[in-house]
């Protein structure tokens, strides 16, 4: 497996034509290869999610993670940026803006010289919901929702997402196969909410693959958090690689580096 890659911060065109920074990790294979838009979690464009992004490049894909908080804090440390965005009252980032930034990231990937034109999206935590949001908002080739909350169900009164129709109502618009990775001890999404989403996918005849793990709650993929569950995470990564091998490369040429 040829695992050389180049990782760097780049500028992409996001929502509303805004120039934002993004973390790009690209395989140095001639290609053609698929690409992955990585949506960071609430704590931001951080070291852990950059590692997540590089992992795809070492496995033979291109990947890019837009900095969803760049507008509020250009050049700031990731934790300061999310704090600035929170203080500015833009947390959670409006869905329309997320969609625009993901679309810009997807266009960046498709424009790379070694691209095969296929693009997936993956996100964890709030990014899991936003991955589903992207997949019902634009043409994509695959989507991975890692324990995204509030895809189904109504957030409690006072929650910033309260009053926004559940994304599951847009399941009919899902443009690509969906891989869902969940912990059975999670409360958002709860096992009941995962089942509700699965039912919506069935009703609309969508291609999907769900895996729920015993003994795992929210954020079981986060290696530096107490929520990390290695058994679930190792299996989940194998599922991710297999899923991307199926939908991003025509010959399933990916090598699983788990």
């Amino acid at each position: 497996m040829y695992d050389a890659m180049l990782a760097e911060t780049v500028t992409i065109t996001g929502h509303n034509g805004d120039e934002i920074k993004a973390y790009s990790a690209r395989t140095l294979q001639v290609g053609p290869v698929g690409g992955v838009v990585v949506i960071h979690h609430l704590p931001g464009y951080d070291r852990q999610t950059k590692e997540f992004t590089r992992r795809f490049a070492t496995g033979g894909l291109n990947a890019v993670m837009p900095n969803l908080y760049y507008r509020e804090a250009p050049g700031a440390d990731p934790d300061d940026a999310v704090a600035a965005a929170r203080a500015a009252g833009v947390i959670p980032i409006p869905d329309e803006r997320v969609v625009g930034d993901v679309a810009g990231a997807a266009a960046y990937l498709r424009g790379l010289s070694n691209s095969n034109g296929k693009v997936a999206v993956i996100g964890h935590c709030s990014g899991g919901r936003q991955a589903f949001l992207a997949a019902v908002s634009m043409p994509l080739d695959a989507a991975v929702d890692c324990y995204g909350g509030f895809v189904v169900g109504t957030p409690p009164e006072g929650h910033p997402l309260h009053g926004i129709p559940p994304l599951a109502e847009r399941t009919g618009d899902l443009s690509c196969p969906l891989l869902g990775l969940f912990g059975r001890e999670d409360v958002a999404p709860s096992p009941e909410q995962v089942a509700e989403l699965e039912q919506a996918l069935k009703v609309h005849g969508k291609t999907y693959e769900f895996h729920s793990y015993d003994g795992a709650g929210h954020a079981f993929l986060q290696v530096d958090r107490p929520s990390y569950r290695p058994e679930a995470a190792v299996d989940a990564w194998q599922r991710i690689w297999a899923f991307f091998g199926r939908y991003l490369l025509s010959k399933g040429a990916l090598c699983a580096l788990t």
Partner: protein, 87 residues
């Protein structure tokens, strides 16, 4: 889950960050995922001077139990100050 819930309050005082002391004018208080603390959710406080940029910030991430203890200690300290000092 991400709560996203944030209480914002105007404050007056100073904080010390990596570049030294600076005035603080705003605070964000929220119970959400931490960046560093080893807990799923923590009570987080950002002491800020937005006019000086995102890095003008002193941040703490506290377990719920320690946050309550801190709040009680702050209240008790203010209550026990000699008469006339706290306005």
């Amino acid at each position: 889950m991400c709560t996203y819930l944030t209480e914002k309050v105007s404050i007056s005082g100073s904080g010390k960050g990596p570049s030294g002391w600076f005035r603080v004018t705003d605070a964000s208080v929220y119970f959400d995922h931490p960046v560093h603390a080893q807990a799923e959710h923590t009570l987080n406080i950002d002491f800020l001077d937005p006019g000086a940029g995102p890095s003008a910030r002193v941040a703490v991430e506290l377990t719920a139990e320690s946050a309550r203890a801190l709040a009680e200690a702050i209240q008790a300290t203010l209550d026990s100050a000699p008469p006339g000092l706290v306005t």
